[in-house]
Symmetry: C2
Subunit: 423 residues, 2 copies
């Protein structure tokens, strides 16, 4: 696919250029005087002028809080807002990384969303979001005048959890009026997010619309479900934003140093991700979700028509589910998350119950094993990819230039992963 | 339909009983000591214990804001929270009316959503919501073990506005696997809401699933679009939450006295609803939306298979659109909103360009003219219904007992209106 490779190189060059520009600007200019218009973020509520984004990636925020003593912005780094005579607090940041960032205000100790943006479910609650645009010619996740599929909300009763669950299902253009059957990609969100993430923050539907229109990906169904699956009596605390209602003393939102974009790189240690097995989700998926999808939609049968991928904790879930069920899945994708954490130890003979021990057998079964990561996320995934390769396991390593543990990394991962499926 | 009438009477009795109980409780008991468990609101984020609701409709709220000087809850009435030693502010309200309420916190002058609930787009922004449950045996808008339709997100490019728009489309159970054609209800939200309101706050999909399963309504498609339609150069300020970013001096959120449930009964006067004509939406709907729907879905043709309804401002839009286009619509519903405002003057000979002047002709064309209202909203709609009847115009008047200008009124309206369609 020479075209795609060229596009990726272009993206890398643009990002590298952008990063050098930022570094130069950062050292040479006074931010308050850098030129260009501050344009409202595309995620703002109708009519809101703030937050807005300058061409160099700086963003200006504003909150009306006439009686507050202190207002702070948390968007990876912390910024103190300054109160004006009109009772509004404002701040202009240093340049932010391109892509989607969750962010919050802390108003006299209260962690709240900015009322001026639409909210996005992340870190276990509906917080605010800002989009720092990529260069104007990048439009693979924007609506274009091409045939559009649709995203549907689907309710189903889970025997495993005993509860009604909701998933979203993307069906490709032509699904409704045709009779064809389609392969299925099960696509998972990350820690603290939900079944809305991939079509709201991720634009999975528009990415696929554009890939399919350009004949870069085969038409497929995408199922977006929720990692939060507990049986009656099981503890679901790992899926909650417990840090929002701390018992004394109140604690600040945990933000890991490795997440420059304002999102915890991983759940705080006290949430106990180390004990996360994903077993209930896997059981629910194979007992309830997959049969419901295959009963309801025109689906092609068999493992070679079934893929699973996910981001961060959803990547962990993907590896946990698929590596134990290779009779059911032939395509596996981990976006900033895979097996054993991004820096975990790996022994090809014993890891994951020895599924990698016979490399030839594994390679025959798994058509694509995809490992994606943002270049700002550290070397863990690259090391894992190389360890797999050394053990003879074919895999695709994809690095998103200049991005962190955030949705732009994952949009790019999906844009690179989807064309490799069901060929 | 004797069954339905009996159900309505039951609901009326229950509500009357509930209201008398509230009044009795309000005068006789100390709220802090009334019995029963405080159960987390069904709209809370995973794991959040607050807000919670007592059996008598009181609700307890909690916000961690250790450095704040003043925290206020606005849920129709205002309540001051009290700071505890743990840095958390709390309050228990007097009993709230059953149903869905938008609410906000004001933290040292900043109007923000409660981080402990999912957010809901209303009054032009994503604010918090709480659900005060109806009696346990009311389940017409809850998911049940019946066949479920689906709600799909649909993008389309509008020639009239020059922009990509999004609507949601409910297709009934069996749509995907069958070949039948269906009639269509166009269903509109209210001022400050959007195309997500009817399936998120309103549960239109579950209401129809349950009605169809009970053979009380015929299977139909429901299209939920966005009132916000402006041409390039037109002023869209009426659709924005301008009160969130006031210029000095900052002003409190306007809450009309007639809206006991915490929602402005109508946009503040300065938003200029008086000048609202809905002309661009009507043009967009007839030029872009309806043709797209009829091109994309298996739709029955003709006016007798087309209904339009809406709540509040969406009711106004419905009357503006349909009364000028009776060749295209045979069913009309206004839920807490119709023509000329709820207390407007009405002259059957001249109002709405004389469309009511020939009652016999109107009655022949319009199969159902439905006017719904909450009993706490005042007599305007009842007066309008009686004035229409006096002028010989057949119409259905539906009053939701004990509810205000809020979503429970509108869920009940839809539940009463949908069975009357396409018979």
């Amino acid at each position: 696919m020479p075209t795609k490779i060229r596009l990726n190189l272009d993206a890398a060059r643009r990002s590298a250029l952008k990063i050098s520009t930022m570094v130069l600007l950062g050292s040479a200019l006074c931010w308050g005087q850098a030129g260009g218009e501050c344009k409202p973020s595309s995620l703002n509520i109708p009519g809101a002028k703030h937050p807005c984004v300058y061409p160099d990636g700086r963003a200006a925020f504003r909150l009306v809080a006439p009686d507050a003593q202190k207002v702070q912005l948390r968007v990876g780094k912390n910024f103190d807002l300054v109160k004006g005579e009109d009772g509004a607090w404002t701040v202009t940041t240093t340049p932010l990384v391109v892509g989607f960032h969750y962010y919050t205000f802390v108003v006299d100790g209260a962690t709240v969303a900015d009322p001026a943006t639409r909210t996005f479910f992340g870190s276990g609650w509906d917080n605010s979001g800002i989009e720092i645009p990529e260069p104007a010619d990048v439009d693979y996740y924007l609506p274009k005048d091409v045939p559009h599929g649709q995203v549907s909300q689907r309710w189903y009763l889970s025997k495993v959890t005993g509860k009604w669950r909701r998933c979203y299902v993307y069906t490709p253009p032509g699904y409704e009026s045709g009779k064809s059957r389609y392969p299925v990609l099960y696509l998972m969100h990350g820690w603290g997010e939900n079944e809305q993430g991939w079509h709201t923050q991720g634009h999975a539907d528009l990415i696929l619309d554009n890939l399919i229109a350009g004949r870069k990906a085969v038409p497929m169904i995408i199922v977006m479900d929720n990692l939060n699956a507990v049986k009656p009596g099981e503890d679901g605390a790992i899926f909650s934003a417990r840090w929002l209602w701390p018992q004394p003393p109140p604690q600040p939102q945990p933000v890991a140093a490795s997440a420059p974009g304002g999102r915890p790189a991983a759940p705080p240690a006290r949430l106990g991700l180390a004990g996360f097995t994903g077993a209930t989700f896997t059981e629910m998926m194979l007992t309830d979700l997959v049969p419901m999808i295959e009963r309801t939609y025109r689906v092609r049968p068999g493992r070679e028509n079934r893929a699973m991928a996910g981001l961060s904790m959803g990547g962990m879930q993907t590896f946990l589910t698929t590596l134990s069920n290779l009779d059911k899945f032939a395509y596996i994708g981990g976006f900033s998350g895979s097996t054993g954490g991004r820096g975990g130890t790996f022994d090809p003979k014993t890891s994951n119950n020895g599924v990698f021990a016979d490399a030839a057998a594994f390679n025959k079964k798994v058509k694509v094993l995809f490992l994606g990561i943002g270049s700002a996320e550290g070397p863990g995934t690259k090391n894992f990819s190389e360890a797999l390769a050394k053990a003879g396991i074919s895999n695709v390593f994809f690095e998103s230039p200049g991005t962190a543990h955030e949705w732009l990394t994952w949009r790019r991962c999906l844009n690179d992963f989807a064309p490799r499926l069901f060929r």
